[in-house]
């Protein structure tokens, strides 16, 4: 695959990060998910063009990278996620303690359906299957920060303070 250089989305920094993973595995294909994470961390999504470029780096066909990306729910492809990705847990332990209601509350407050992003690019609201913090149900994950035992008031305050 060849692509015009001026359309490339992977920066030298991303490429260096991806290449650093290659010696860890006996196959280059194993670097696919780490590469998707690296791009996602930089761009907050993984556009199709990035898959093409990852495939070049890993000696794969672009469809192989795209196939893997599309399997996992984590990587957005159409447009960047909000500055904060906010996952609200809806699995059983949270469900028993108001997880669904918390998600619904935030949908109303932010005027979003799960998966959508606020027009100002501040927040992408999502549901999560078990976040593994069931002792703090209901819980949510905001980027790398876990927030447990969330009341609607606390959720409001947290969301209002997000930049």
């Amino acid at each position: 695959m060849s692509t015009a250089t001026n359309n490339r989305v992977l920066t030298d920094e991303m490429i260096a990060e991806i290449k650093a993973f290659i010696p860890r595995y006996p196959s280059k294909q194993a670097v696919t998910v780490p590469a998707l994470h690296i791009v996602n961390e930089h761009l907050r999504y993984v556009p199709l063009q990035a898959c093409v470029e990852i495939a070049e780096l890993l000696d794969l066909h672009p469809s192989q990278v795209q196939d893997t990306l599309s399997f996992y729910g984590y990587f957005k492809q159409d447009k960047p996620a909000g500055r904060t990705r906010l996952w609200v847990c809806r699995s059983i332990s949270c469900g028993l303690r108001g997880g669904d209601e918390l998600l619904e509350h935030l949908c109303h407050k932010l005027h979003l359906q799960p998966g959508e992003t606020t027009p100002d690019g501040r927040i992408t609201l999502e549901y999560a299957e078990c976040l593994g913090a069931c002792e703090q149900a209901p819980c949510m994950l905001a980027n790398n920060e876990l927030i447990g035992n969330v009341t609607h008031e606390q959720a409001d305050k947290f969301v209002d303070e997000l930049k």
């Binding site: 299957e129 069931c134 002792e135």
Partner: protein, 451 residues
């Protein structure tokens, strides 16, 4: 219970328990010093086998036995995968270990790799655990700097690398061959077995896949010995020739409608009632338990009058549940709607089915559509029979799928319909007074907001 001394959680709560300094100050890496280069690899394997340790990730397969399935005198490489993809609803014990005491897990990984002669370990952690990832990554770096990882560990001649690898939000990666496919950079479609990973696993090489808590147990078995480990728990049931016993301490995750949800360490074999009362402070709001999940949602349900069930590997099966699973106990009080429970369970599995096997992909999806129909007041009694049919026909048990995810989807359906049918029927009749008796094909509900 009072005399039981926690070992897996012993360091949790100590200042900076996740650092090497704290771990070593509390006896950390002593097992490694005792074993590496001083005990033969085979002896370590045999000790773990003799301890009766069974995998803590859900299936309860004897760990030492799994190790012996590796080919003898294999030229290598042999790979070790640490399954830290903990995603079973209700389960968080691995997260606690990885966040609060990551070195304990790493020491167990090194010992397990030494026993199996693995030269590279892939630490496959779900991406929803950023704090655990950060602390474990730091701990791995500390272990390298201290000479516990890398070339010629502690002068033993044995070398090992641990590589951190993050998942991307898929429950199926907890299935060991799904994990391997995912590690290889592909969609996490479980493989047909045999060959088992011990023969042909990651990168087509012999591979051991063990759970985080299992690895932590290996540390303590090598520290304290087989006799200590076997002094805790439950011996094999003489009436069940297939029961290998349930030895050792276990981390129980208690959540739902209890006063004190949390991760508690107890001897295998504690009853659900004891766990709820003695550790969880009882059911909240002075209510009674209507139903209890014994070990993660895929294990099914105990009813409120089955709480004398022993939570060992052999216990929940006696009450029609799938097994002990991850020992994640979720309590539902007497105000809980079993329609809501079953909808939640079906929704989870239809979302997480990997789509490879048609019975699972379609069965979990249709179960969710029917539960949505019931929830919306359009249910018919016939739907319960249709749900039961799905429950009976998807999974490894009936032989229609490659992996056990479908069995996990089926068990809550089967248990709920068997144990709570009157409530489900009452809901259907009450919410659909004119249509509950219909038996004609009915339009499905769309999975809006589900996927």
């Amino acid at each position: 219970m009072a005399e039981f001394e926690p070992v897996l959680l012993a360091n949790v709560g100590k200042p900076e328990s996740w650092t090497l300094k704290s771990y070593e100050a509390n006896g950390g890496y002593q097992a490694l010093r005792k074993v590496l280069g001083k005990m033969s690899q085979n002896d370590v394997k045999e000790q773990v086998k003799a301890s009766g340790l069974r995998g803590r990730g859900g299936a309860g397969f004897p760990t030492g036995l799994k190790w012996t399935f590796l080919p003898q005198n294999h030229p290598g490489p042999i790979y070790f995968c640490l399954n830290a993809d903990e995603s079973e609803p209700g389960t968080f014990n691995n997260r606690i270990l990885m966040e609060e005491d990551p070195h304990q897990v790493i020491e167990g990984v090194i010992l397990s790799c030494y026993a199996t002669n693995a030269t590279a370990a892939y630490y496959y952690m779900r991406c929803e655990y950023p704090k655990a990832y950060e602390r474990t990554s730091k701990a791995v770096a500390e272990a390298y700097a201290a000479g516990y990882l890398g070339k010629n560990i502690l002068g033993s001649g044995y070398s090992l690398d641990i590589f951190m690898h993050r998942g991307a939000g898929a429950y199926i990666c907890g299935e060991e061959t799904g994990l391997i496919e995912s590690l290889e950079g592909k969609r996490a479609w479980p493989r047909i077995k045999p060959p088992f990973p011990a023969v042909e696993g990651a990168f087509r090489k012999p591979t051991v896949v063990n759970n985080v808590e299992t690895a932590a147990c290996v540390t303590h078995i090598m520290n304290r010995g087989v006799e200590w480990f076997k002094s805790i728990g439950v011996p094999p049931d003489p009436n069940n020739p297939r029961d290998a016993g349930s030895y050792g301490p276990k981390l129980y995750c208690l959540s739902g409608h209890v006063n004190k949800p949390g991760c508690y360490e107890a001897p295998l074999g504690i009853t659900a009632q004891e766990l709820i009362d003695n550790y969880g402070g009882g059911v909240w709001k002075g209510r009674k338990a209507k139903a209890v999940i014994p070990g993660g949602i895929s294990m099914g349900l105990l009813s409120g009058d089955e709480l004398h069930c022993k939570l060992d590997f052999n216990g929940p099966g006696k009450f029609g549940c799938l097994g002990l699973g991850t020992a994640a106990v979720v309590v539902m009080d007497d105000q809980t709607s079993m329609v809501d429970f079953l909808l939640n369970s079906c929704r989870f599995f239809s979302h997480e089915s990997c789509g490879q096997c048609t019975p699972c992909r379609e069965g979990t999806s249709w179960a969710t559509r029917m539960m949505l129909r019931i929830k919306a007041g359009k249910g018919r009694l016939k739907d319960l029979d249709l749900l039961a049919e799905i429950g009976d026909t998807i999974g490894i048990t009936p032989g229609s799928t490659i992996c056990g995810l479908a069995d996990g989807a089926a068990w809550p359906i089967k248990n709920c319909i068997k144990k709570f049918r009157p409530e489900l029927e009452e809901y259907i009749k009450r919410t659909n007074p004119t249509g509950w008796a219909d038996t004609k094909p009915a339009p499905a509900f769309e999975l809006v907001g589900i996927h």
